[in-house]
Structure formats: C-alpha cells, structure tokens
Symmetry: C2
Subunit: 142 residues, 2 copies
Amino acid sequence: MLTIGSLANKTGTKVQTIRYYEQIGLMPEPGRTEGGQRRYGDDELDRLAFIRHARQLGFSLEAIRELLDLSDHPHRPCLEADAIARRQLKQVEQRLARLEALRTELKRMVHECSGGQTADCRVLEVLRDHSECLTDHDEIGA
Amino acid sequence: MLTIGSLANKTGTKVQTIRYYEQIGLMPEPGRTEGGQRRYGDDELDRLAFIRHARQLGFSLEAIRELLDLSDHPHRPCLEADAIARRQLKQVEQRLARLEALRTELKRMVHECSGGQTADCRVLEVLRDHSECLTDHDEIGA
DNA sequence: GGTTGAACCTCTAGTAGCTTGAGGGTGTAC
DNA sequence: GTACACCCTCAAGCTACTAGAGGTTCAACC
C-alpha cells in the first residue's frame, strides 16, 4: 500500500497533480486509512504511469481518457487507439514544422545583432518589421 | 483613426485580445470618442504589430514587455534584447528536440499497430510499458 | 430627422493542466 | 508521548486568451 507521496515519487508526479487527476475522474477514488489518508495499490500505480507517459507524449487529458477507456475493453477493435495516436502524431509534426520556422527566424535575429545600441538592434528591428517575416498569421500557440 | 475592429483586422488579432493587452498594460489606453469607443493611431498599430509578431515567435508576454521597454529606449545597449532572443532560441531548440523524440516514439507506435483487438494494440502497450520509453521524466509542457 | 444593424462597450466566467497557499489533521519513529 | 514529516480540504492563481450576456454607439441610408 502506497501513500500518495510515494506514488508521486515513483511516477514523477506531484502530489497535488494526483489529487487533481482524481478530481477530474482520470484516477479512481482510492481506499483511505481510518484517518482519511489515501492509500494506493499496483493498479493505481500502473494507471498513473500510463497517464504520465501519455502526457509526456503530448496527449491531452481528454485523449488519455479515451485511451484508458479503450485499454479497459480489451476485446474492442484497436482502430480507435490507433486513430488517436495518428492524430497526435499529426499534431506533433505540425508543431515541429512551426518551431523549425521559428528557429530559423530567431537565429537570423540573434546572429545579426551588432551589440550596439537598441536603436540599431537587429532583434528589435526584425520584430518591428513584419514584412521580413516568413511565418504566417494564423495560429500562435506553440 | 482606427476603430478597434479595423486594428484587429490589420494585425490578425481578436478585438477581445486587444482589450486584454490594454488591461494588462501591454497596450496603452487609447483615445476615445465622445460615446466612449476606442480610437487608435499609427503608433498603436506599430506596437500591436510588434507584439503579435513577437508572440508568433513564441515570446511570452513578459518577454515582450521587456522588449517593448528596450525599444522605447533607443540609446541603451542592445545586449538585453539580444539575451532575450537567445533565451527564446534556446527554448525553441529544446522544444524541438523533445518533439522530435516524441515523433519517433509516436511513429513507432502507429506503425506497429496490427489493427486487431485493443488487447494486442501496440499503441496501448507502449503507453503501458514505460521501460521502452526514451524520453525522460522531467518536463511535460510541449 | 429617423431608423437600422453592425460594431462597440463592460463585466464575468471559462479554457487546459496544473501549482500554490492557508489552515489544520494524521502517522510513525524515537 | 511528542516531534515532525506528511497528509487533508478548499480556494485561488497561473498563461494567454476566448466566449457570452446584456446593453450602447456609430454611420449609412431613406
């Protein structure tokens, strides 16, 4: 039986985060001691490890909810899980493309900085003059 | 003189976002008509364009605040602006490295999916078994 | 001059995915 | 039996916006 703290340690999660996952129904309500402290078993450890791993891969909590649900029904076809992963892969590739464009522009800014006064600063100039910019207008979130 | 709506159009910003920037002090309080509607001039247009461009490059609002401040003092040395940009570049490169690792793992998951039952699903299996995972434990935000 | 309708106003609350803090109770080792 | 690390709940805060309610103003047209 694990306390919430040791579960947190084993999974690289913060204690508050575990309680948060319970609150939103991603983790089940665990057993409690007489005094009301949570105690966890191996099932919960596995489930939390699954969640954290998926989070590290960038899956949203909603996607993880679906994946856990699929994982709980081993006889359903796995097309759905596959679709979720493909969606995630696509998103990752889009973000990569955007970040690569940003890196290019940032590198250009930094390399052209003369080290003089801000009046001549290439960094500020580039930011001021949007016309030199390659990136498009729509999305911002990285 | 521009209304908030046309300023929004010209810069690819939402009206609410402009008001938000004003609220947090990133945009100045503009002049108003007798009826109380905001009216903007070219200075504000430039400032907002600067902000949006910097946001597209992934700078945080706090970083942008510093950059605007530097931009307002053309005779200060530009080392600071350069440092902010370098910091940003570093962050972008870190995120790129992480995303590339994610892409690799996601691709592996997706390509190995057999299309059978969830019980045999490679996607879920990989998520369950953290030991196959290459990514490290610390940061999660993409 | 009157009327219409798009665009404007303020204020509040919601989004994701947590994190932080206040104020207090529990469990265990010595 | 007492110290103290750990646990509890509840509420609020974070970033960077976005959405909606309920009401007002502007500009064009007749």
